[in-house]
C-alpha cells in the first residue's frame, strides 16, 4: 500500500482551482487535505465541498503535513506563494502564467531548486488528447517538415482581477498566449526567436488589452500566428477555444481541442451550447503532477516551460509598444 499524496491548495482566485480540486479528489492515490484562501467564506465553502481543512492564512496551511500544493492565486501573487511553499518543502504546481515578470519567474524557479522541490506549470492543454495526437503526427514525421502553424485561444473577458493590471500583469495577451505558445514549443522542440504583435482593447475592456494578434518566428524556421483575444460574445455557445492548424511538407492537420462536444439547444435559456464529452484534461494535468511527486521524478512541464511561454507574451507587449517585431532576449 502506497501512501497517498497529500495535496493542499492555496487561493481560489483563479477559477481553474475548482476544477483542479475536483481532479485531486478524482485522482487515485491523492488526497485534498487543506485549502487556503484569504477570504474566509471561500475557504470554508470550498473546504466543506471537498472535505478539506480550511485556512485563511496560507502560512498556516504550509505548516500542515502536505507533500504538495497547487497555487491558483492572482498572477502577481504566484511568486510569493510559490517561494513560501518551496521554503516549507512542498512540491508546487502553479497556475499559468507562471508570473507577471521575468524576474519573479526566475526567483520562483531558483527557490524551488534551492529547497529541492518540484515546480510544475499548469498547462492542461498538454493533456488534451487531440493535441497529443497532433504531436504524435509531427513526431512520427508524417507531416514532413513543419512550415507554419496558426493557433487560436479565444475566450471571454473573465473580469474580476483579470482586468486589474497590478494583479494580472496583463490582459488577454498574457492570459491566452501562454497555453498555445507552450504547445508550439513542445510540439516543435524549438524556442520562439521573435514576435510581432498587434494589441488593443476592442471588446469593452477599459484599462487592459482584450484582443491581440501575434506573429511568431521560431529558431528552427517555423512561422506561426496566434490569436489570444477575449473575443467570444456572451451568446457564444462555449467559453472559447484552442485550435491549431499545422502545415508541413508532408501534409496538413487541423486540431480543434474542444470539438468533442454535443450541440445542445435549450428553450429555457434561449441559447444553444456545446456540451463537452472529451477527456477532462485537468484530470490529466493533476494526475501527472501527483504521479511525479509520488514517483519522485521530474515534472513533465517545468517552471522554465512556464517562464519561456510568459517571455513570449511579454515580448508581444514590447512589440506592440514599438510597432516592430521584438527579439526574445532570453537572459538565462
Amino acid at each position: 500500500m502506497v501512501d497517498s499524496v497529500k495535496v493542499g491548495m492555496i487561493s481560489f482566485a483563479h477559477p481553474h482551482a475548482f476544477s483542479y480540486a475536483q481532479a485531486v479528489r478524482a485522482t487515485p492515490g491523492a488526497e485534498l487535505v487543506a485549502v487556503a484562501d484569504h477570504e474566509s467564506g471561500v475557504a470554508a465553502s470550498v473546504a466543506e465541498q471537498y472535505g478539506a481543512t480550511p485556512f485563511t492564512d496560507y502560512q498556516d496551511l504550509l505548516k500542515q503535513e502536505l507533500d504538495a500544493v497547487i497555487i491558483c492565486s492572482e498572477n502577481a501573487r504566484h511568486a510569493e506563494f510559490v517561494m513560501a511553499a518551496a521554503q516549507a518543502g512542498k512540491h508546487v504546481m502553479c497556475e499559468k502564467p507562471i508570473a507577471t515578470t521575468v524576474e519573479d519567474g526566475w526567483k520562483m524557479i531558483d527557490a524551488c531548486r534551492e529547497y529541492g522541490v518540484k515546480l510544475q506549470t499548469a498547462f492542461p492543454v498538454r493533456y488534451n488528447q487531440p493535441v497529443r495526437r497532433a504531436k504524435e503526427l509531427i513526431d512520427s514525421g508524417r507531416l514532413g517538415r513543419i512550415l507554419a502553424v496558426q493557433g487560436t485561444n479565444r475566450g471571454q473577458n473573465p473580469g474580476r482581477w483579470f482586468v486589474q493590471r497590478d494583479l494580472s500583469g496583463g490582459g488577454a495577451v498574457l492570459d491566452h498566449t501562454v497555453h498555445v505558445v507552450d504547445i508550439l514549443r513542445w510540439c516543435l522542440g524549438s524556442e520562439v526567436r521573435s514576435v510581432y504583435a498587434e494589441i488593443d482593447s476592442r471588446f469593452g475592456a477599459t484599462d487592459i488589452d482584450d484582443c491581440g494578434l501575434l506573429m511568431l518566428e521560431f529558431e528552427n524556421g517555423v512561422m506561426a500566428s496566434h490569436d489570444p483575444s477575449w473575443s467570444r460574445c456572451k451568446s457564444f455557445p462555449t467559453w472559447g477555444d484552442v485550435t491549431l492548424e499545422i502545415v508541413g511538407t508532408g501534409g496538413v492537420t487541423r486540431v480543434d481541442a474542444t470539438a468533442q462536444h454535443l450541440l445542445a439547444y435549450n428553450d429555457a435559456t434561449g441559447r444553444h451550447t456545446f456540451e463537452p464529452w472529451g477527456d477532462n484534461f485537468d484530470l490529466g494535468l493533476v494526475g501527472d503532477f501527483v504521479a511525479c511527486v509520488r514517483d519522485d521524478r521530474a515534472p513533465s512541464i517545468t517552471g522554465e516551460d512556464g517562464l519561456r511561454a510568459m517571455e513570449v507574451a511579454l515580448a508581444a507587449y514590447e512589440s506592440a509598444r514599438t510597432g516592430q517585431p521584438a527579439t526574445l532576449a532570453r537572459t538565462r
Binding site: 488593443d200 476592442r202 506573429m215 473575443s231 517585431p325
Partner: protein, 327 residues
C-alpha cells in the same frame, strides 16, 4: 446589346465565357487563345467565334474585352484594348506590379474606356451577407477578423503560378481576394506584417500569414496557402463586441454525394456541392454589363484593385525585410 470578347480560354476564361453566353442582353462574339484547340472548343460550346489572338479579337467589333490571361501579361493586353477604344474587364490581380497596374489604369482613363477588375469575392453571397451584417451593426463594433483561403497548388498553362516573378505567389494571386474584401468592410489599412514561406521553401509549397491593422482599429489575420496536398477551402470569422459571424466552406456545403463505383462496387469519391441560382462569376459579370449597358454605379473599381495590390506588396515587403510596413 453588349458585344463581348474573351481573351484566354483557361479556367477563368471558360467560367466568364459561359456566364456571358447565358446573358440575354450580351453577345459573346469571340474567344481568343493562342492554343487554337482550347479556343475552338470553348467557342463552340458558347456559340462564339474562335480567334487566334488579341489583334484578331479586336477586329471582331466588340465593345468590351475580358482579359483572362496570366497576370504578367495583363498590362500589355489591357493597353492594346484601351488603344483600340475597348472597355476592359481584367481578372484579378490587376497586375503583378503596382507600376503595371497604374499604367493600365492611366491607359484606360486616357482612352476614355472603363476598366473593371474581377475581385469576385465581393460577389460571393456568403461574403456579401457577412458584410451586410457588419454594416448593419449586427456584431457591434468589430474587433478582430480572421480569413483563410487556399488548398493545393494550382495548375495552369506553363505552370506560371509556380513562378514567383510571374504570379507573386499566394500573397499577390490568392490573398488579394481577402485583402480587397477586408478593405471593403473595414476601410483603409494602416499597417502590415507578414510571414511567408517565400524564400524559405520551394517545391510548390507556398504559405503566408499576414497581420493587417486598419485605420479603423480592426485587426485582421489572413492566411493564404497553396501548401496543402489537395483541395480548396475558405473560412472566416468576424468578431464584434456583441456578436460573431463564422463561415467555413467545408461546413456550408448543403449537398454531399457519395456514388458507388459501378466497376468495383466500392466507394467512389465523396463530392460536396453548394449550388446557387447564379455563380459569383455570373453575378460579377452581370454587374459589369449593367454598368456598361445601363450606367449602374460600379461596386468595385480599378482603384480598389490597385489598393488591394498595394496591401499584397506591403506584405511582400514586410516578409522580405522582417519589419512592419506602414501604408
Amino acid at each position: 446589346m453588349l458585344k463581348v470578347g474573351v481573351v484566354g480560354a483557361g479556367t477563368m476564361g471558360s467560367a466568364h465565357s459561359r456566364a456571358y453566353a447565358a446573358m440575354p442582353d450580351v453577345e459573346l462574339v469571340a474567344i481568343a487563345d493562342i492554343r487554337a484547340q482550347a479556343a475552338t472548343a470553348l467557342a463552340r460550346e458558347c456559340g462564339a467565334r474562335a480567334v487566334a489572338d488579341l489583334p484578331g479579337l479586336l477586329e471582331e467589333g466588340v465593345d468590351v474585352v475580358d482579359v483572362c490571361v496570366p497576370t504578367p501579361m495583363h498590362r500589355a493586353y489591357v493597353e492594346q484594348c484601351a488603344g483600340a477604344g475597348k472597355h476592359v474587364v481584367c481578372e484579378k490581380p490587376l497586375a503583378r506590379t503596382l507600376e503595371d497596374a497604374r499604367a493600365m489604369m492611366d491607359a484606360c482613363s486616357d482612352a476614355g474606356v472603363e476598366l473593371f477588375v474581377g475581385q469576385v469575392v465581393r460577389f460571393f453571397p456568403e461574403y456579401r451577407r457577412a458584410r451586410e451584417l457588419v454594416q448593419a451593426g449586427a456584431l457591434g463594433e468589430v474587433g478582430t477578423a480572421r480569413f483563410t483561403r487556399g488548398g493545393g497548388f494550382p495548375h495552369a498553362s506553363d505552370d506560371w503560378y509556380a513562378s514567383f516573378a510571374q504570379s507573386g505567389g499566394v500573397v499577390v494571386d490568392l490573398m488579394i481576394h481577402d485583402f480587397d474584401f477586408l478593405r471593403w468592410c473595414f476601410g483603409p489599412v494602416r499597417r502590415v506584417y507578414a510571414l511567408t514561406t517565400a524564400g524559405r521553401e520551394f517545391n510548390r509549397l507556398d504559405h503566408a500569414l499576414v497581420s493587417l491593422r486598419f485605420e479603423s482599429g480592426v485587426m485582421a489575420h489572413v492566411e493564404g496557402t497553396w501548401a496543402h496536398p489537395a483541395g480548396f477551402a475558405t473560412r472566416f470569422e468576424i468578431a464584434g463586441a456583441n456578436g460573431i459571424v463564422q463561415h467555413d466552406s467545408e461546413q456550408a456545403a448543403p449537398i454531399h454525394t457519395t456514388l458507388r463505383n459501378p466497376e468495383t462496387g466500392g466507394a467512389g469519391v465523396a463530392v460536396p456541392e453548394s449550388p446557387t441560382l447564379h455563380s459569383p462569376y455570373e453575378l460579377e459579370l452581370r454587374h459589369f454589363a449593367d454598368c456598361l449597358l445601363y450606367g449602374a454605379e460600379p461596386e468595385v473599381t480599378a482603384e480598389d484593385g490597385y489598393e488591394a495590390l498595394r496591401i499584397s506588396h506591403a506584405a511582400l515587403e514586410s516578409a522580405r525585410t522582417g519589419r512592419a510596413v506602414t501604408l
